[in-house]
């Protein structure tokens, strides 16, 4: 198992709120790792630490380190713009921007200054294909993104990330606002995508984690309680708090 992302003794505070406490976590390449736990356990903060979005908070205090391929993402020479394109995030609620479908998909490329029409067209097709949306929208690429259904909007957001050729996908409860059919489609897409991307998934409930992920990490109160393969965590947890949670005794 090759450790790809490695989180070392990471602590994050916002003012007086301790969001993450001494988290150690290794995330292997080309697998889906699910980060699960009750609300406010620090899952979103962990995701936002990996692409340095937490730095948008004025009260942030951080200690510890995160490395990708052995190199710290906090080195001064790291360009956060490049990092965030390499480690791309999809949010819980579908968040299409108020522009056309096409413009949404090329949004990141446009920020990078890409103007070559063929390159843009190619990436739009690639992203929408990979997000399993191409066939539904190929004939209406210039319609407003807000005219899509909720499930389509979320796949558009996935396509927007994929069009940037990222290495890592951070999916923060991407199906939380979707119906069961759209949820199943997105789960299928995730499994297809893992051969090309390393995926970290905050599941919409832990059953989803069990269905699609290879590894699982249980978070509680900002701490990483236990990490292991999905089958180990969900069938034979070592920590009693994990066991309580997966057997439905709390949370």
């Amino acid at each position: 198992m090759s450790e790809y992302i490695s989180i070392k003794n990471l602590s994050v505070r916002f003012g007086s709120v301790e969001a993450l406490k001494n988290v150690d976590l290794e995330i292997p390449r080309n697998q889906i790792t699910t980060v699960f736990g009750p609300a406010n356990s620090g899952k979103t903060v962990l995701m936002r630490a990996i692409n340095r979005m937490i730095e948008l908070s004025p009260t942030l205090q951080r200690s510890g380190d995160i490395t990708i391929n052995g190199e710290s993402i906090f080195r001064p020479e790291v360009d956060v713009a490049v990092l965030r394109r390499r480690v791309s995030m999809v949010f819980a609620l579908p968040t299409p921007l108020p522009m056309s479908i096409y413009e949404n998909v090329i949004y990141g490329l446009r920020l990078m200054g890409e103007k070559n029409r063929e390159k843009l067209d190619a990436q739009v097709e690639y992203g929408l294909e990979a997000a399993a949306l191409w066939n539904e929208v190929r004939n209406r690429l210039h319609d407003p993104a807000l005219s899509l259904s909720g499930g389509q909007q979320q796949r558009l957001c996935l396509a927007r990330s994929l069009a940037l050729d990222p290495d890592i996908l951070l999916l923060d409860a991407p199906t939380a606002a979707l119906d069961p059919i759209s949820t199943a489609q997105i789960e299928e897409t995730m499994i297809e995508l893992k051969s090309r991307y390393t995926i970290i998934l905050v599941p919409h409930n832990f059953h989803q984690g069990a269905r699609v992920a290879d590894r699982a990490a249980f978070f509680l109160g900002g701490e990483c309680i236990e990490v292991g393969t999905v089958s180990q965590i969900f069938t034979a947890p070592r920590d009693s708090r994990t066991e309580d949670y997966v057997s439905g005794r709390f949370g």
Binding site: N51, M53, L56, P58, V80, A81, V82, L83, R84, R85, S88, M89, F91, L93, T95, L97, P98, M99, Y107, G108, R110, L111, M112, L146, C157, R160, S161, L164
Partner: protein
Amino acid sequence: MSDQLRGKIAIGMIWAAALFSLSVLILIIAYILIRGLPQVSLSFLLESPTDLGRSGGIFPAILGTLVLGLGALVIAVPLGIGSAIYLTEYTYPSRLTSIIRFGTESLAGVPSIIFGLFGFIFFVSYLKMSWSILAGSLTLALMILPTIIRTAEEAIRAVPQSYREVSFGMGATRWQMVTTVVLPTALPGILTGIILAFGRAVGETAAVIFTAGTALNIPISVFSPVRTMAVHFYILAVEGISLEKAYATGAVLIITVLLINIGANMLITRAVVRTGRK
């Protein structure tokens, strides 16, 4: 008198107040338009006045109004939007922002005659611009700046936070985030503020008359003095030059203000539609 009856009378009076305010509006508009419109013709709009305005048209005043108003916008809009962007996107509430806010609010409360005095002593005399388009536009710009800042700030704050998150998440710098997501989304609201500010500039007299002057010539440069419609209207009426022409000028002024308000309202509706779909 029973409580029931007293309540009915009070509520009746409130209805009366509301209807009164509507009738005042209709009365003012109807009064000016009925007396003024019959004398408004194409030649009134396109000809220069003669004999101090006793005869002829108001073309130089229309031109003066547009030039002065647009000049004020050219100066105040970039400053106002920049200021609003700074306050909403580039800083967190702090001592400095509350001092800046205090400055903006106080500026909004300064009466226009004070702007007139200031523009006269500073732009006209101290900076030797004399009565000119430049001095008038600068003075008006200071006067409308708070309106533009406040409306732009409101429009920018109404942009959903998730748009900013997405933009940063795709690797945008702060400025890219502002230009690609925030400003396009806030545009209808910002434009509404700009139009309302233009309306204020068009109707202003005290701040303009001592800075842009009262010349009735067609301006040839930014250093030319001009007379706006509002100033022309005021002079016609106060100096008793021609009540007829005053009504006609007033009618043109009222119609301009009506059009400005209709334009602003159309944009407000669009802004609601846009943010309502988020």
